[in-house]
Symmetry: C2
Subunit: 395 residues, 2 copies
Amino acid sequence: MSTEESPDPVEKEENHLPDMKEMRSVVLTGFGGLNKMRVMKRPEPTPQEGEVMIRVKACGVNFYDLMVRQGAIDNPPKTPLVLGFECSGEVESVGEGVTDFQVGNKVMGISNFGAWSELVTLPAKFCFLMPDGLSFEDAAALPISYVTAYILLFEIGNLKKGRSVLVHSAGGAVGTAIAQLTKTIGNITLFGTASAHKHETLKDDWQYLFDRLQQDYHQEVKKVAPEGVDLVLDCLCGDDTNKGYSLLKPMGKYILYGSSNVVSGETRSFFSFAKAWWQVDKINPLKLYDENKSISGFMLQNLIFNQGHVEVLRDVMVEIVKLYKDGKIKPVIDSVYAFEEISEAMQKLHDRKNIGKVVISPLKEPQPKPEKPLDSQASVSSDGEKEQEKAEEAK
Amino acid sequence: MSTEESPDPVEKEENHLPDMKEMRSVVLTGFGGLNKMRVMKRPEPTPQEGEVMIRVKACGVNFYDLMVRQGAIDNPPKTPLVLGFECSGEVESVGEGVTDFQVGNKVMGISNFGAWSELVTLPAKFCFLMPDGLSFEDAAALPISYVTAYILLFEIGNLKKGRSVLVHSAGGAVGTAIAQLTKTIGNITLFGTASAHKHETLKDDWQYLFDRLQQDYHQEVKKVAPEGVDLVLDCLCGDDTNKGYSLLKPMGKYILYGSSNVVSGETRSFFSFAKAWWQVDKINPLKLYDENKSISGFMLQNLIFNQGHVEVLRDVMVEIVKLYKDGKIKPVIDSVYAFEEISEAMQKLHDRKNIGKVVISPLKEPQPKPEKPLDSQASVSSDGEKEQEKAEEAK
């Protein structure tokens, strides 16, 4: 069933007990396109030992959700599954042994899947008190994008005053977080790539903006900074990895933190997948030694859920909350959608039409749809050919 | 002419004018073994615009000097040439436009070759005032080893409290500098490799020491720290690069800053050369992304002389002088040799017998040699076969 056939799909999972309390969740029914997304009734969870249960008010949508939807990740879990990696809300109850949180606390947290539900249970260590003044929508936009941006700039990049940074998707949630965080150290030259229509909005924060589809950003950066840049933050992968590395100054650092080039259509394309991966040059450490360069990779979900390295997340969240309290950062929210509008939310991210974070909320009512589908909604259909055209165009 | 034939060889270069003032320099007459080293009379230099001329009191000997001697570097310059990359002394005169230094200033500096002379001219930007209390020998030991150690730990490694570091050649000049510098941040766990006979001397500064020739350090580190270490500083290259990478924790950083595995005998061996280079696995940035790891390379001479990136050197020297003044660092001097004893000095480094820095000085008289050559002096000969045996033994 496509979203066109049912713009407000709330389905029930079968075989649940009739007297069990139920909640709405955003479910991925199988790997594939937007038509695999459903809002379904699911039984309410119960917090286990060490867990916090949150009555969810808002959830962040990340590009990684799109990759999971397509099954474009290592060891994908089984479907159906509830998607989503971050949310904010109020503590509804706590499991045994939880002493840091009390019922009624406003919290935000990172979840290993399952964040897009009315009720979410999280290990307390992935949960953080919201500072005063932060809205639920802003809080849902904070954990993944700001932790990622902070770690890229300061933990791995070791960015210092006077240096220069090239960032792809300057208008995305991580891009806007990066722009704010670099201001905390001063005198940073920011180079960004973003669609031309975003440049007017972004131009106060970025010294140089290029549209990758209309300009050879590699040449343009070389013109402005022939000696290169100090830090390249790449969420694209593929040939942009090679370009990013070649733009580094001596002592420069290239960090790969995403591979959105593998997502070039609504559904998984093995062609774009293989192309992006094959294009990445392998690097001999001896080349780095000769050239005085660094390359790094960063993938937050892998780090905290698969590699069990939670410390850095907790340390960085303390810094981020402090920066918010000091008025140094403020999440940029692009749009807030209802759970039932998840297709539109994902499509916006897919098309890179957002400036800042895309949020979904179980509290929001879906907007009534116009009778004739708009252009932007045509691509929400499961029409593979149309998708393919769009993807080719976007290359 | 080998050093055995002439234990105190001071030769004159031919064709110089008879009334020209002369000085002694340590000259590499051609790429090869220790028999290519000579002390020779050379005409005194004159400082050019922007240059400082130093009356040299002490010079640092670095492993890189051994690599240059063998011709084991990219684009080696033509021989004969004066070796040496750092020295300390008193300003004898300054060229036009130099305002930061005056005659009589005690200074230390980094030179693009040519530091092993009684008089050395350097661009003023590579010259630094010695802090009060620092001896000339200590000052000659400071620039390259401490700048390297500082950049590895803090500029690239971004080392923070509570983290762990694995360092090869823990007893070398960079190793001892690393041990001192890590203490400035506190609670660092240091793993080092060093010959067994150095362990007693080093054990107060290093939590874990392994002898690479007698122990499988890779397995030993795994036993102590199954989750790996945060930072690996590798001056060996070859298979140790792969081992170092595999010992990294999530968020860990591997830095290659030397390739001493290519020097396995007195003269260049293409076999050891090729072996060390082939053993290094090429790395796909996507692997780093999956594993949350970084790899970097650092080579100070390339950075400042070939890549023209002097800023970081100047910034770091300010920090190092400050740390010395605060009593946080103090160079460890292994031994001071006369210019005429350059072969012994190089051999000591080659055999990794030093703890701390090996220094040579134009002020020092060579020690009288025992009539029967000692074991350690046998290898100073140009006897290639004997050398080869030693090298094989050391593997």
